[in-house]
């Protein structure tokens, strides 16, 4: 499907110096004793798109939920900083955070069928943030909801306003989710595997749609994906996550063309390429949260691991305009 998405990153469009919209630094998330996110740092400029790539269990979705404030104390323990414009999100009161959710920060869920309430019409669910944050009148909400449905490519939006989620196809449901997330023109859009529950033929359409809308609104977006090549294709920059840490982060084309971290290299060679009969899987799996190795968390699966890797955690180093956390960068 990668070749089906013909999208060019737009690094060139972005002014080099600009205040970051989102600045996450040394963010850790603990659930009981388990360290789910460990020292995550990343910055996102206005209008920029970032792909968070990694296996299931790497902490990508957790990071997305933490950013939108749905994983907070007392449920989990957050350390470090998440700055959104001038707001420190980790210190934000719940009532103020609620004003950001669905308003300045939107979230698209993986499985729209499960994320839409079966008992309410899609029109009502799209109109909800319009009422909550923009205080639009009933009539204005309906108008705007229809416009939004039109903008995400739902035909005959006025007829579909009163449809229930089960009356729409999976692709249409995901379009509704996108309309909900974009209802208040968010500055930051989080998309948690927005296409993985869909048919392959629909996936490219939906991806294209999200990118198109994000550009139209000049929003920033974080895509949570498990596919490195897809991420590199649709995002300006890529952050590769492994076991709650970001192991490599940088401009998409560089990361894809010449991955520096052994895990990124492994992710790249896992993909079946046209004309190649070789498929190299990464052996093993992400260790369980209660049994994380002390040094580099990837060391037990790493082909290049030496003694130091299991003893000391490598710090992120800047190399060729990207951040890599590995003791043995060639």
């Amino acid at each position: 499907m990668h070749s089906a998405v013909a999208l060019t990153p737009r690094v060139a469009d972005i002014p080099a110096i600009q205040e970051p919209l989102l600045n996450v630094s040394d963010l850790s998330l603990r659930r009981g004793k388990a360290v789910v996110l460990d020292g995550v740092s990343l910055a996102l400029r206005p209008g920029e798109t970032l792909g968070l790539i990694g296996e299931s269990g790497a902490g990508k979705s957790t990071l997305a939920l933490a950013l939108i404030g749905l994983l907070r104390a007392p449920e989990v323990q957050l350390d470090g900083s998440m700055r959104f414009r001038d707001t420190e999100l980790t210190q934000l009161r719940e009532a103020d955070y609620r004003r950001l959710r669905g308003n300045k920060i939107g979230l698209i869920f993986q499985d729209a069928t499960a994320a839409l309430n079966p008992c309410f019409t899609v029109g009502a669910q799209i109109a909800e943030p319009l009422k909550r944050h923009l205080r639009l009148s009933r009539w204005a909400r309906r108008e705007r909801a229809a416009e939004l449905m039109h903008s995400v490519g739902i035909p005959e939006p006025r007829m579909r306003l009163d449809a229930y989620p089960h009356e729409l196809s999976g692709g249409m449901q995901q379009r509704v989710m996108i309309a909900v997330a974009l209802a208040c023109n968010p500055e930051l859009l989080l998309a948690d595997e927005p296409t993985s529950a869909l048919d392959v033929t629909i996936q490219a359409q939906i991806m294209e749609l999200i990118l198109d809308r994000v550009r139209a609104l000049n929003s920033s977006a974080i895509f949570v994906l498990h596919d490195l090549a897809l991420g590199a294709q649709v995002c300006d920059r890529i952050a590769v996550m492994y076991a709650g840490q970001i192991v490599e982060e940088g401009p998409s084309e560089h990361v894809l063309a010449a991955p520096l971290h052994p895990y990124t290299q492994g992710l790249k060679s896992c993909v079946v390429e046209l004309g190649s009969r070789r498929l190299v899987p990464i052996p093993g799996q992400i260790p369980p949260l209660n049994a994380m190795p002390g040094g580099c968390r990837f060391a037990p699966r790493c082909p290049k691991a030496k003694t130091i890797c299991s003893e000391q955690r490598p710090q992120a180093e800047t190399r060729d305009g990207r951040q890599v956390a590995c003791w043995f960068i060639d």
Binding site: L70, R101, G102, A114, F120, R132
Partner: protein
């Protein structure tokens, strides 16, 4: 749609026919002879035969059933052997409203206490609120209503004197007096339901709150109370209505006990008195009304499903 409805109706009628036949047969097999009860201790053979013939009790059972059913459908339910009162009037116009009022008030009390208790228990799972709710639920289910009734009479009626001990005042004649008289009985009957409703609300809400659409509602910036009471509870209504409908039999059964304990002139009281007097036809009327109520509620629950769950609606 129409076809489904008529099939449902035919099924319902069949159920009612079966109920009437079975109860008629059982009561025929029950010991006791209404004729000798009506005549008292001293009577002649000829007056016995005469009365037996007059009541149609000398005919074959099948004919008796047929005659009774034909009369029943016409609303001609006969007269009580003992009070000479018209049974339709006794059962439908006098006893039924009492039982319905009691049941409705009990259900209201159970909903008003049970739902918030269940919600609290679900939201603060494994906290003291949850323990309290679970204790209440199990206690309410385990406590027999006749015992609870007597306990309440003793405490609030006799000892504290807050509520009347016995008797019934129709709320449609004197609303506050009626309500005052019905408080203890309704609480007695509702106690069992409170636990049930709290338990179902707790488990259903726990399941619903784990669904992605709840997280999605939060991600839209919905306040916590709306997430629970609108997005969550809207999805809890289905299982709740199902259980309430299914347990209506338990409610009617409990009403018999409650009415006897509090001396309320309802259906339960009517049937109990009739059983003790071996008045088959009054018992029969009571059973038929109960059966009709039961079937009506089931039909209503079926209809409510379509109203509550858009996925079951036909377009």
């Amino acid at each position: 749609m129409f076809q489904a409805a008529s099939a449902k109706l035919a099924q319902t009628l069949l159920v009612l026919l079966f109920v009437s036949a079975a109860s008629f047969a059982f009561l025929k097999l029950a010991p006791g002879d209404p004729v000798s009860i009506m005549l008292g201790s001293d009577y002649s053979k000829s007056s016995y035969d005469q009365l037996t013939h007059a009541l149609g009790l000398d005919q074959p059972v099948v004919f008796q059933y047929g005659n009774w059913l034909a009369d029943f459908v016409r609303g001609n339910w006969g007269t009580s052997y003992i009070t000479s009162q018209d049974i339709f009037e006794l059962a439908v116009l006098q006893a039924l409203p009492v039982t319905l009022t009691l049941a409705a008030l009990s259900l209201l009390i159970a909903l008003v206490i049970g739902i918030p208790t269940g919600v609290l228990a679900a939201l603060y799972r494994n906290s003291w609120a949850d323990v309290l709710a679970t204790t209440l639920a199990i206690g309410g289910n385990a406590f027999p209503s006749f015992y609870l009734g007597i306990l309440l009479i003793w405490l609030f009626g006799v000892d504290l004197g807050w509520f009347p001990v016995l008797g019934f005042v129709a709320p449609w004649e004197d609303f506050w007096q009626g309500l005052w008289h019905l408080t203890l009985p309704a609480f007695t009957l509702g106690a069992w339901y409170i636990g049930l409703i709290a338990r179902i609300t707790r488990s259903s809400l726990l399941e619903v709150m784990g669904q992605p659409y709840i997280l999605a509602a939060k991600a839209r910036g919905e306040p916590a109370w709306r997430v629970v009471w609108v997005h969550g509870m809207r999805n809890v209504l289905m299982p709740l209505v199902t259980v309430i409908g299914l347990q209506l039999g338990g409610m009617l059964r409990g009403a018999v006990m409650t009415e006897v304990v509090f001396a309320l002139p309802g259906l339960g009281m009517m049937v109990t008195t009739a059983v003790l007097n071996r008045e088959y036809i009054v018992v029969q009327a009571g059973i038929m009304i109960t059966g009709l109520l039961f079937v009506a509620v089931n039909l209503a629950v079926d209809q409510t499903y379509q109203f509550l769950d858009p996925r079951l609606r036909r377009r």
